[in-house]
Amino acid sequence: MNSTLERILVPLGAVAVSLLLFALFVALAGYPPLDVFALLYKGGFGSSFSWNNSLQRAAPLILTGLAVAIPARAGLVIIGGEGAMVLGGLAAAIVGVWGPVHIPLVAQIIMLLSGALVGAIWIGLCGWMRHARGINETISSLLMAYIGIALLNHFVEGPLKDPNSLNKPSTPPIPDANMLGLTPGFDVHMGLLIGVVVALIAWAVLRFTTLGFALKVVGGNPRAAQLAGLRVGRWIIGACAAGGAAAGLSGAVEVAAVHGAANASLISGYGNAGILIAFMARHNPLAIIPVAVLIGGIGAAGGMLQRRLDMPDATVIVLQGMAFIAILASEAVMGSPWRRIAQRLWGIEPATTPVAPAPVTVLAKSSTLEAA
C-alpha cells in the first residue's frame, strides 16, 4: 500500500470508527443517532452558512496548531501556546492603540508582526531554558502560559486599562479603520487566509528545505545532529520561536480582527485546542488545515445539536475526544503490522524504505551550510 495513501486513509478510517462509537454513545444516551448525524452534517458543512461558521471557528486553531506542530518537528512538546497567544494579542493592541502609524495596511502589518514577535520571544524563552538549563519545555511552556495570562490581566486591569471599560477591563480600542477585514470570498475574518498561508509556508519549509530536514534530524536524534555539525541549541530555540510566533500571530489576529482591544476574552482556550489539533494532524502543517476545519465543524455542529435536540454542550466534546483517541490509536496500524496484514490478505509487497541513503547527502549539505 502506498504510504501517502495510507497516511490519508488511516486517519479517515479512525474518524469513521469514532463516529460509530459516537453513534453508540448517543443511542445509549437516548437520542436518535441518525438525526444527530444529519444535524452534525447540516450544522458543520450542510450549507454555505455552515461552512463559513466552521471555517471561522477553524481559523484561529490553524495558527495555534502550528505553535505545537513546528516545535514538535524538533522533538519538543510545547503546550503553552495560550500564553504566547494572549501576549501576542496584548502586543498587537498596544501598537494598534499607541503605535505611531495610522495608515491602515501598515498599522495592520505592524500589529501582526509585533504579535508574532512577542509570541516568538515567549516560547523561544522556553527553548532557551531547555537548551541552557535543561528545563523540560513541556512544563516550562505550560507554566509560562499561566504567567502570560497573569500579565495580560495585570496590564488590561491596571496600567493599560481604558477608563471607559468599567465592567470588562480592556485596553482602549484600536481605530475601526485599522481592523482586519474578511478573507476574500468568505464570511470569515482575515485570520483564515493568514492561517492557511502560514501553514502552507511552514509545510513547504519543513518538507522541501534543508532547514526542515535539519530540524527533523535534531528532533530525531539530537546527539547525532550534534555529531553532524548541527548546533542543536539554536535549532531548538529557533523551532520554539517559530511556534511561538504562530501563536502570537493568532492572538494578534484575535485583537485586530475580532475584539478590537485586548481583554480577558483573549483567554479563550484556542492555544489549548491547538495541542489537540497538532497531535491529530501528526504535526504535519498541511494536515493541520483539514483537522482544524474538522474541529471547527464539530464546534459549529455542536451549536445546532444544542438548539435542535437540547443536547448538552458536552456532546460534541465527547465526539472530539473519541476522534482524538481514535486517530492517535490508529498510529498503531500504520506501518509494518498494517502492511503485513495487507500483504497476507492481498499479496501486496511491503514498501521498502529507500530513504536511508538519501539523508546522508542532504545532511552533509546542511552541515556544510551550518559550518559556513
Partner: protein, 370 residues
Amino acid sequence: MAGQKFDRRNFLKIAAASGALAAVSQSALAQGKPLVVGFIYVGARDDFGYNQAHAQAAAVIKKMPGIKVIEEEKVAETVAVQKTMEAMIEQDGASLIFATSFGYFDPHVLKVAAKYPKVFFAHCGGMWTEGKHPKNVGSFFGYIDECQYLSGMIAASVSKTKKGGFIAAKPIPQVLRNINAFTMGAQSVDPAFTTHVIFTGDWSLPVKEAEASNSLVDQGADVLTCHVDGPKVVVETAEKRGVFTTGYHASQAKLAPKGYLTGAEWDWVAPYKTLVEAVKSGKQPPNFLRGGLKEGFVKMSPYGPAVPAKAKTAADTVKAKMVKGEFVIFKGPIKDNKGATVVAAGVSQGQQDPVLEGMNYLVAGVVGSI
C-alpha cells in the same frame, strides 16, 4: 427536523401569499407561528450560579404559549458567540436573542445587531446608551446589591467572630458594589463587622476559589459569600469547614443544608417576559431595563435553619422598605477603607444613580485592596 423544514416551507408559502415577506418575524406571528427566542450562556446551564439563574428563567419562558426557546451553553466570548447568534437567526429563525454574558456586548452583539436590524438583541448587564448603540439592542440588569445588603444583615446576626469572607472574581464596579452593600448591611446590624476580600482574578477558577475559602476560614471568618460565576465550590467548602454561607446568583441551599443562611438571587423571568411580550406584539422593546426587589428582578433565597427569628424580622423590615423604594443603600457619609470620603454627608445615591455604575472603592470595614 423534517418537520422543521416542512414548517418553514409552509410558512414561506403563506407569508409570500400574504405579501408579508419583508417583515418575516412579524408575519410569522400573524400566522400563529411561534416566536423563536434564543438564549446564549457563557458557562454550563447547571453551574449552580450565573448561568443557571438565566437557564431557570429561560425554562419559564419556554412554557409561554407561542414561544419556541432554543439554547446554547458554554459559548465563548469570541467569534463563537457571533456565529452562534447568526446561526440562531439563519438556521432557526430567531427574532429575539438573549446574550446573557457581560463580555458578549462589545464587539459581538453590536456587530451582529448591525447585520440583522430586524432581530432584537437583549444583553444582560451592558450599558445601552441612546445615540451610541443601535435601536435593536437592549440591555437589562438587576440591582442585586439590595439582596447583598440583606444577606450582610443576616450574616452579621449569626457571626460570632464578626468576620466575613468574600471571594470575588475581579475588582470591577459590579463586584465592588456587592462587596460594599454586603458590608454595609452587616454593619447596620453590628458596626464592628469586617469583610475580608480575596480577588481570585477570574470568573471561574474553582481551585483558587477553594483555596481562598479555606484561607478565609483559617483567618477566622465564620460567614462566607462570593461573587464568582459558580458559587458551588465556595458554598461546599464553607459547609465542609462548618461555617455559614450566603449564596449568590441562584440558590445553593442544596449544597449546604446546615450552613446556608440566605442568598442574593437573580430572577430574570420578569425582564425576559417584558422583552418577549414586546417583541411578540410587534412593539419596540425597552432598550434599557433595570430593576431590583421592587420590580422582581432579584430575590432572596428562603432563610436557612440557622437564621434566628429576630434577624429575619429585621431583614424583612428593610426588605419591605426596599420594595417600596424607600431605602437607599449608598447614603452619605460613606468613607472608603483608606479613610477618604467617597459619598459626602447629605448625598444620597439611589439605586439608579449612574455614579454607582463606576464604583471604584471598598467601604470602611472591608479588609482588602483593589
